[in-house]
Amino acid sequence: MTKLEAIIQTSRLEAVKDALHEIGVEGMTVLEVRGHGRQKGHTEFYRGREYTVDLIPKIKLETVLPDTMVEKAVQAIVTAARSGKIGDGKIFLSKVDDAIRIRNDERGEGAL
């Protein structure tokens, strides 16, 4: 099992969600986060003072998938989330030791 963490532009959430549903991904978790890679932030003015905001709002989407589905999911996310500009985001993959369904104690890929 592989955990897939995708940090994407907030405006791309709907497209990415739909793309994942289309390839059969059934579970995901969505978080509102702030961060930056190489993208510069913006400046705001309050009462004449300039503030640099370099932590930009993003969406983090997490899903744990059977290894067979991972590459299809990566492609789906990349296609839906790419705009071609700096700030599109990143996808991280990591190994998951186990998964447990709380409702009925099912384990392993069957719990996904």
Binding site: Y46, R47, G48, R49, E50
Partner: protein, 470 residues
Amino acid sequence: MAHRLVLGSLLGLLLACSSLYAQSAPAPSAADSARLARLEQQVADAKGSADNAWMLTSSALVLMMTGPGLALFYGGLVRKKNVLATMAQSFAMMAVITVLWGVLSYSLAFGSGNAFIGGLHHLFLHGVGAQPDSDYAATLPLQTFMVYQLMFAIITPALITGAFAERMKFSSLLCFMVLWSLVVYSPMAHMVWGKGGLLNAALGGRFPCLDFAGGTVVHVTSGVSALVCALYLGKRVGYPKQAMTPHSVVLSFVGACLLWVGWFGFNAGSALGAGTLATSAFIATHFAAAAAVIGWSGAEWIRNGKPSALGAISGAVAGLVAITPAAGFVGPMPALLIGLLAGAFCFFMVATVKARFGYDDSLDAFGVHGAGGTLGALLTGIFAVSAINPIFKDAQGSPLPSGLLDGNAHQLLNQMVGVLIAWVLAIVGTLAILKLVDLTIGLRVSEDEEVQGLDLSQHGEEGYSWEVTA
């Protein structure tokens, strides 16, 4: 002989006719005199009712300026962890100053005393009832006058809280404000508005200072005291490197609009009646606020490239501050000019001067109230005209020129005296009180408490409990 008879009888006829006319307009009977007297009383009562209705409304409007006007305005400007504490500081004034005023400080401000302070005659509001005091307002119950002035006494110390936002102990705040109200506000109010006051323009003060609704009494004293507090208490932990942006400009926006509307009670109510002077002050107030929005936003647009909402509402407040001393003395066009100048000037104070000198006047109490009030008080000396308000009269009761453009250049000097006294009283009084409170119970919260936030550390609560748990 015959024509003399004719003349004589003609004369006699004329006399008879004229005496008949005299009889058809006889001297009023006792019953008629009583009716006339009752009618005159009813007319006076009706006029008094109109004045009293407006003044009670104005009192409510001015209270609304503190709560929720100022509470929201300041509350939105601080970080989320300090929102309740900031609002509580204004709210506490509504409670504490009210008691203090009723027990003691009304008497100190408006009782008879000397040129600098009133006496103790009105302790516990003794003698303050339904009867008017014609020195202050001939058509109002003295109680109405007292409660109207109370609302000013409430908001003035509340304004200072902007200077030491996010770092003052609540207990120290309460001690400081009680002392400040007694040592700075009451004497200043007495000097400008109280009978025998040194600066009282309406009651023959030695240096008659034109201050219609409190440019010096409210804004200069609080604004300058704010600066002293900001310097004495020092900067917030992390200032200025750490960004400390308003957590909700939306709240500040609502607060500012409430301040604008409430200010009609503050300025137009200072006419102490429902007549044409109130209308004039109402219009001057509104026009100054509008022009100041344009002044501040225009300056900001040029300097920063975008006009912010926070800047626009700050501009409005700056204009309202500046027109406060002038509202009942100037016409609408000068009010526009005063507002425009105040908007641009206060933007400069906040955006440039504060950064250059590096003091942490967190919510710009000095930049807007101290600076705006000073500017407004001086501009009053220029633009005040007797045609709007014949405040100065000669021995025969004819109006004398008010301000510089009216032909009285000397008034500008009197305005400077008033402003200077306000500055000195604010600086000396505030320093002394700060020192006293600091030596006894301390002023600032600890660094840990400041980082944790005043809502939790001072009040044990959170402003927004938007928790994850259901």
